[in-house]
């Protein structure tokens, strides 16, 4: 077959395409467009729901993803955790797989990292034990007593989080679908201790929210169908409100559960996380959005490039007459 520009184009070594996508995904970090990200209704509904909650409520944040989908799922989980901590909503952290527990640790470390502006300062279970012994377990009284004793919130911190009062890291258990089912009766029966070995029975947040029926939201972040376990075993059985944070690949698969009322809302992909970060900024919780928002500029550029490839590839295919001649030239790498 005679070579022409179209066949040369379609037989281009794919490593040039790899290089181009790499460059296009790098340059916007140095030359940001700063285009706005407008939140959509599925994300707004989660945000608005969390806005109605406070220290007397409780939520579950379940890290149900492994390192492979970390770039998409982690920003979402971090965003909702920061929202909950900013509103002093007690958070139970769980994970559906061993590697997911590692993601839980990483996400929690990020939210409580003193090197990141707006972090939350941890007060460990042992540190506030004297206050527990005096019966000071209500959130407002605890913080007042803690600060009255000379504890000053660091300058770049957003607030205190007391272990066992504001958060409990429960972690991973196998057959997690059944763990969810078991937690509809008793959280403590499934998790006698948290990840740090602290007894759950003594935690004020567990004493006030003994099972999933006492919890107000379960937000699950997953790169697989594991998020559906929350709907099957808790959402539809005890009417627990569920919110999804899923990868973009699966986002369109679960919108039907929003339409059916089985989900409060859904964050889909990096865009979903960026929208939540924008909502947090607009509501005044944090000065700036976080990593997901920064990534949206790169998304812009990459999407335009992909579209260009699709259009150019089809032009080359049809202009070169390959739709008539059959297979393209062999020898491409």
């Amino acid at each position: 077959m005679k070579e022409n520009i179209w066949s040369r184009m379609l037989n281009l070594d794919r490593r040039w395409i790899f290089l181009l996508i790499g460059v296009v995904c790098t340059v916007p970090f140095f030359v940001p467009f700063g285009l706005p990200v407008l939140p959509t209704k599925n994300v707004i509904s989660i945000f608005d729901y969390v806005e109605t909650l406070g220290p007397e409520n409780a939520i579950f944040v379940s890290f149900d993803f492994d390192p492979g989908t970390d770039p998409e799922n982690m920003p979402m989980a971090v965003a909702i955790t920061r929202h909950a901590f900013a509103r002093n909503i007690p958070v139970f952290f769980t994970a559906n797989a061993p590697l997911a527990q590692g993601m839980l640790e990483a996400g929690f470390t990020y939210v409580t990292n003193p090197n990141i502006a707006g972090y939350f300062h941890i007060v460990s279970w042992q540190e506030w034990a004297p206050y527990r012994e005096q019966g000071i377990t209500r959130r407002d009284r605890l913080q007042a007593a803690w600060e009255a004793d000379g504890n000053v919130l660091p300058e770049n911190a957003s607030g205190w989080v007391f272990e066992g009062r504001d958060f409990a890291k429960l972690g991973y258990l196998p057959a997690f679908a059944l763990v969810i089912m078991g937690m509809t009766s008793s959280i403590e029966a499934q998790y006698p201790e948290d990840m740090n070995g602290n007894p759950l029975a003594q935690m004020p947040m567990l004493q006030e929210h003994k099972n999933l029926r006492d919890v107000d939201l379960a937000a699950t972040f997953s790169g697989s169908a594991a998020c559906m376990w929350w709907v099957l075993y808790a959402g539809d059985t005890i009417s627990l409100p569920i919110a999804f944070g899923v990868t973009a690949v699966s986002a369109t698969d679960y919108t039907m559960y929003i339409q059916s009322g089985q989900l409060v809302g859904q964050m889909g992909g990096l865009r979903g996380a960026a929208e939540y970060e924008v909502l947090l900024q607009e509501a005044g919780y944090f000065e700036h959005p976080d990593r997901a928002f920064i990534g949206m500029d790169v998304q812009n550029a990459a999407h335009l490039l992909i579209l260009f490839f699709i259009i150019l590839g089809n032009i080359a295919y049809f202009a070169g007459g390959f739709h008539k001649k059959g297979a393209l030239l062999k020898g491409r790498r």
Binding site: R15, F18, I21, C25, T26, F29, F30, G68, T69, D70, P71, E72, M74, P98, L99, Q101, G102, G171, Y172, L173, P174, A175, A177, L178, M181, P192, E193, M195, M228, V231, L232, Y233, G235, D236, T237, T247, A248, V249, A251, T252, D253, M256, Q259, S260, G261, Q262, G268, G269, L270, R271, R291, I294, G295, V298, Q299, A302, H303, I306
Partner: protein, 209 residues
């Protein structure tokens, strides 16, 4: 020092994996194999600290909950799989987990994945005050679901008004659905790359904020 070493190690392995795009090489294969070993090693630690110790060893030893020895013995039967003569014993814990798991999931799957979805499809096509795009959308949703279901019904030939036209509309609806998924898939894949580039430029090289 620990963090710096960690970031440099992570960066080296990141670049090692990306080197595969040029050509497969030993550093990439090393990373590939390390991941298998580390993940299973991590699995072992987490399983012991999260499951076996707090939910089996401590309750039996400290709280005398000897009934938990029964599931422990059942679980130990898994090990017989390595001994061909008694490997059939490993079917017992599998049967218990499989059978009860299937029974456990059956009514819940029925409720969430079938009944609730059917219920959500039976919706009013028009209500006073509904925007036009929602009315059209509801029509598309109801008739589109029916048409797509007809397309997947392969026990009858796709001919005539109901099966023929219905399945043709159904495949169009399915293609639109797949198109939407494809659009999001592109976005999702790029996001994964963005995350790694952010790590390289911010955490490793520190050239961006």
């Amino acid at each position: 020092m620990y963090e710096t070493l960690g970031i440099w190690t992570a960066a080296i392995f990141t670049l090692a994996v990306y080197s595969f795009l040029y050509k497969e090489n030993p550093l990439y294969r090393l990373g590939e194999h390390l991941v298998v070993g580390i993940s299973l090693g991590y699995f072992i630690v987490v399983t012991y600290t999260q499951v076996l110790k707090p939910r089996l060893i401590d309750p039996v030893v400290t709280d005398s909950q000897y009934i938990l020895i029964v599931p422990a013995l059942l679980g130990l039967l898994y090990i017989t799989r390595f001994f061909p003569r008694i490997a059939w014993l490993s079917r017992y814990p599998m049967a218990f987990v499989m059978g009860t798991g299937m029974g456990f999931g059956f009514p819940r799957s029925m409720q969430s994945m079938v009944l609730k979805q059917l219920q959500a499809t039976i919706l009013p096509l028009y209500e006073a005050g509904m925007p036009a795009e929602v009315v059209i959308g509801n029509v598309v949703l109801v008739l589109g679901t029916l048409a797509a279901l007809i397309y997947f019904f392969f026990s009858k030939p796709h001919k005539g008004l109901f099966f023929g036209t219905g399945s043709r509309i159904g495949i169009w609806v399915i293609m639109i659905g797949f198109g939407a998924t494809f659009g999001f898939t592109v976005m999702g894949r790029i996001s994964l790359l963005i995350g790694r580039i952010q790590f390289l430029l911010n955490d490793w090289l520190g050239v961006i904020q």
